[in-house]
Structures are given as structure tokens and as C-alpha cells.
């Protein structure tokens, strides 16, 4: 059982880690675009803003389990297969990007508009304002949002396991549920709990570091 558990944990970590990195990039980009194109933003554009908002909302309203099945053709096109951890990364990322985009947008909106105005008055370019002001000032909020997102990804990854993604969810279902191995079930749940705790603690630590200094 220990071997199974180790392998499953590794798979979960791998799925979560890769999709978290992709989500951070995609969600951040989307969040920045939402803020930039908003009314009164640095590059206001109602149509672009509305389309992006719609895409994000659709992404967020789909239950993950349905999304997972819906993107199967895309997964096959991208990864070549629909089972295994690599394949699970596709729906995980697609599911988490809209989620994080909203959290990132909220964090970015909390940046004092006076600071943005000051940067504009200095002659900073939009790129500089995004990089040196918005993203930097919003760091604590962005990291806090990422913490929540990673934890959500852990949950999603357990679900992805159920359709052949591997990982702790897969193990819990195959052994714990289908074979009535209560011990395995409990071990899986325990590992998941610890994992989430550790992620939250690390996230909080980074946020505290960023906001104190």
C-alpha cells in the first residue's frame, strides 16, 4: 500500500504542479486583460472586456466533471491520449484558469488607482505600469489567490483521477472504494488533508513575507 500511496502522491503532485504553473500564467494574463480593458482601465475596450468576461464566466459555471469530459477531444489532440497524468493536466488547467483569472482580477483591482495615476504622470508605459506597478503592488493578493487555486486544483485532480488521471483520487476510488480497502481510503484522505494544509501554510507564509516588507 505504501508504494501505491507514494506513486499516487507523486502523480497528484505532478498534475497539480504543472497545471498550477500553466494556470498562474494563463489566469494572470486573463486577469490583467480584464483589468486593462475595463471601463476606466489603461486600455479600455468594452467588446474585448465583455467577451473575456463571458468566457471566464462560462468556464467557471461548468462543473469540473463535465468540463473534463467536454475537453476530451482537445486533450487527445494535445497530448495524444486521454488517460494518465499528462492528459489530466489539460482539463485541470482549463478549469482553473477562469477561476484564478477572477481572483487575480480582484487582487489587481485593489491596487490604489492613485498609484497608477502617479505612474502615468511619470510617463510610464502601459507595459511598465502592468509590470512595475499593478503586478508588483498586487503580489500579496495574487499569491493568496494562487494558494486557493492550487488547493482547488488538488480537489480537481482527485476527480480527474476518477477518469483515469491517476493520483490520490484514483487510488482512493480503485482500492479504497471499489475494493473496500478502508485503510487505503483513509490514507488517501489523510495525505490529501496534509497536502492542503502544507499548501495553505506555504501560501500564507509567502503572503506575509510580501506584505510585511
Amino acid at each position: 500500500m505504501r508504494d501505491h500511496l507514494t506513486v499516487a502522491l507523486q502523480e497528484t503532485l505532478q498534475m497539480v504542479w504543472v497545471s498550477a504553473v500553466l494556470t498562474a500564467l494563463g489566469g494572470l494574463a486573463l486577469g490583467v486583460l480584464l483589468v486593462l480593458t475595463d471601463r476606466g482601465g489603461l486600455a479600455p475596450s468594452a467588446p474585448v472586456n465583455r467577451v473575456l468576461g463571458l468566457v471566464v464566466n462560462i468556464g467557471r459555471s461548468l462543473p469540473f466533471i463535465i468540463l473534463m469530459i467536454a475537453v476530451i477531444p482537445l486533450t487527445r489532440a494535445l497530448v495524444g491520449t486521454t488517460i494518465g497524468t499528462a492528459a489530466a493536466i489539460v482539463p485541470l488547467t482549463i478549469g482553473a484558469i477562469p477561476f484564478y483569472a477572477r481572483l487575480a482580477e480582484t487582487a489587481l483591482r485593489e491596487v490604489d488607482p492613485g498609484v497608477v495615476a502617479a505612474a502615468r504622470a511619470m510617463g510610464a508605459s502601459r507595459r511598465q505600469i502592468v509590470g512595475k506597478v499593478l503586478l508588483r503592488e498586487a503580489r500579496p493578493g495574487l499569491v493568496a489567490g494562487m494558494t486557493v487555486t492550487v488547493i482547488t486544483l488538488v480537489g480537481y485532480s482527485a476527480m480527474a483521477g476518477a477518469i483515469g488521471g491517476g493520483g490520490l483520487g484514483d487510488l482512493a476510488i480503485r482500492y479504497g472504494y471499489l475494493r473496500f480497502e478502508t485503510g487505503t481510503m483513509i490514507a488517501c484522505v489523510a495525505v490529501l488533508i496534509v497536502l492542503v494544509q502544507v499548501i495553505q501554510m506555504l501560501g500564507d507564509l509567502v503572503v506575509r513575507r510580501l506584505s510585511h516588507k
Partner: protein, 331 residues
């Protein structure tokens, strides 16, 4: 140095249109401190934000040292902004950087090498008296200190023009005075041209060479502070030296007398009393320093109707005083 011509701006929000600027023209000479004063909603911030085009006016022109900023391309406008410093009511400091990082930020924006940025930041912090806080975070500073950081930052790229939007409104009176004194000093030492907006008369009194009064998107009065004070019917004089509404006793004339500079030294009341053998009552008023000049405004009461007082009034006018008949008794 700053030439604003016929600026207009209308804000439209949900079908309602607000005219924030209604044909504003204003010129500030090099090395001058010009204060725009007006009530809340008069359009002062809109005017100031038009100068560096943070807000784009619907019409008019904005010339700083020559070119019309409203016709510039985006890149050229950014370059022009770098030569205009700005300080903000709520400071607008980056919370994620220390004081040095904030002061050096405009230099980072224009690509000055790190070593030079740090040297310049240290010089500026020295100039505004904040050297010992070089590595503090803005959150650890008092309001006055934050505004000094704001001022140092505004000066980093060596602008010739400084814009100030209610820079002292968030500060207590003493801190306000020290920040105003700093602006005055920078104006003198660096030859900085300053356009500031405020709703505090005190700011105009303390540091402005010239001023404009703004109401409902228009400038109603504009000129050198001392000239305006000496002009009859000046709103500025009434604002800076308020007198209570006149209450007149029968058979008397109330005069509001404004004196600027050397006139103040003339003991006009006793000379009036002596020359015409009348009793002159002082009912109220104040005398203050405006810039380096002594200015006062007094309400005096003379016996008799204005007609009877014609010689006295002429006498006062001849001695260079500004007179307004506040009220007279009708018989």
C-alpha cells in the same frame, strides 16, 4: 511656461452631462507659483489633470514650454510627462517599495542605471529632509513624511514644472505649513514653476505669487495675488480676509478698506480722524502677511451718509487704499 487655452471638458455618465471645464485659459510664468482655488466640484482636479493629459480635454490647447501636448502621439506625450512632476493628495506611493525605491521609480521608468538612480534618490531625500527614512516603507511614515517622499519623487527626473493636486489637504495645519515652505524653497532654489490646486485660502496666502479662482468650470478671477487683493470687489480679498455681514447703525457708513504693502504702514485711521475731526470705529478685520507683504482688510464705521463722507472716501482712495462701501444707513 504653462499656457492653457480655452480648455473644455464634459463628462458624460448615464445620460447626464457634467461640464467640468467650460473654456478655461490660464498662463503661468516661469518660476511662478500659481494657485487655483475653488469649491469642491469646481473642476480644479480636471484642470490640473489636463495639464499632463491624465485627463484629455475635449477642446483647447495645453502648452508646456512650447508644444501642444494635446497633439502629441502617445510616445511623445509620455516623454513630455517625464518633464512634468506631479504630487498627489493621497501621495500615490508604491507600498511594495521602500522610500528610496519610490523616489527612484521615475528614473527606473526612464531607464537610468541603478547606481545613478540610487545616488539621485539619496540627494533628493537629503533635499526634503528624509535621509534617515531612506529604507522605511511608506506605511511606516506620517502623512507629512509621505508627502515629502511624493515631492522628492516628483523632482527625481528634474522637471521644470510641478503640478500639485491638493497636496496638503490630507495633512494637519502644522505639517501643511512645513510642506508649503518646502515647495516655496524648491521654487526659489530650483526655479521650479508650480501649478497647484487647493480649496484652502491659506495655501494661496502662504506661497502663491498668482492665483485663479474657479467656479463651475470657469475662472472668475485671475492675477497676481497682491493685485487681486487690491482690486475692488475681489472675491479673493473676501475669501482671504472674511468680514461678517454688515450691520449698519442709522446715520453711519460702513467701509471695507483693503490695504496692501506700504499702505499698511500709513496710520490711515488716525489721519482720517484728525483731518476731518470725526470718530472712526473699527468694527472688524485682520492684518496678515501674504508672501512677504503685509495685507489687511478692515471694516470701519464713519458717522454720516456716504454723500456726507465723500471727502473722506476720496481721501482714503487717494492714499492708495481699496474701498468698498459695505453698507450705509438709509434715512
Amino acid at each position: 511656461m504653462i499656457e492653457l487655452h480655452d480648455l473644455t471638458k464634459v463628462y458624460r455618465a448615464r445620460g447626464r452631462a457634467v461640464t467640468a471645464l467650460d473654456g478655461v485659459s490660464l498662463t503661468v510664468a516661469e518660476g511662478e507659483i500659481h494657485g487655483v482655488i475653488g469649491r469642491s466640484g469646481a473642476g480644479k482636479s480636471t484642470l490640473l489633470r489636463s495639464v499632463n493629459v491624465l485627463e484629455r480635454p475635449d477642446g483647447g490647447s495645453v502648452r508646456i514650454d512650447g508644444a501642444d501636448l494635446l497633439t502629441l502621439s502617445r510616445d511623445a506625450l509620455r516623454a513630455a510627462r517625464r518633464r512634468i512632476g506631479m504630487i498627489h493628495q493621497h501621495f500615490g506611493l508604491l507600498g511594495s517599495r521602500d522610500v528610496t525605491g519610490n523616489v527612484a521609480f521615475p528614473l527606473e521608468v526612464i531607464g537610468v542605471p541603478r547606481r545613478d538612480r540610487l545616488r539621485r534618490a539619496a540627494e533628493l531625500l537629503e533635499l526634503v529632509g528624509l535621509s534617515e527614512h531612506a529604507h522605511a516603507r511608506p506605511a511606516q511614515l506620517s502623512g507629512g513624511q509621505k508627502q515629502r517622499v511624493g515631492i522628492a519623487r516628483a523632482l527625481a527626473a528634474e522637471p521644470k514644472v510641478l503640478l500639485s493636486d491638493e497636496a496638503t489637504s490630507a495633512l494637519d495645519p502644522e505639517t501643511t505649513d512645513s510642506v508649503l515652505d518646502l515647495l516655496r524653497r524648491l521654487n526659489r532654489e530650483l526655479g521650479l514653476t508650480i501649478l497647484l490646486i487647493t480649496h484652502e485660502m491659506n495655501v494661496v496666502k502662504r506661497i502663491c505669487d498668482s492665483t485663479s479662482l474657479m467656479r463651475d468650470g470657469r475662472i472668475t478671477e485671475s492675477g497676481k495675488v497682491l493685485d487681486l487683493l487690491a482690486a475692488p470687489g475681489s472675491e479673493l480679498a473676501r475669501g482671504l480676509f472674511p468680514l461678517p455681514p454688515p450691520t449698519v447703525r442709522p446715520g453711519t457708513t460702513l467701509l471695507d478698506v483693503t490695504f496692501v504693502g506700504a499702505d499698511a504702514a500709513t496710520p490711515f485711521i488716525s489721519s482720517l480722524a484728525r483731518t476731518y475731526s470725526i470718530d472712526v470705529n473699527v468694527l472688524g478685520g485682520s492684518i496678515e502677511e501674504v508672501g512677504d507683504t503685509r495685507v489687511g482688510r478692515l471694516r470701519i464705521e464713519l458717522p454720516g451718509t456716504p454723500e456726507l463722507n465723500a471727502p473722506q472716501i476720496a481721501h482714503l482712495r487717494e492714499s492708495g487704499l481699496t474701498l468698498e462701501i459695505a453698507a450705509c444707513a438709509t434715512t
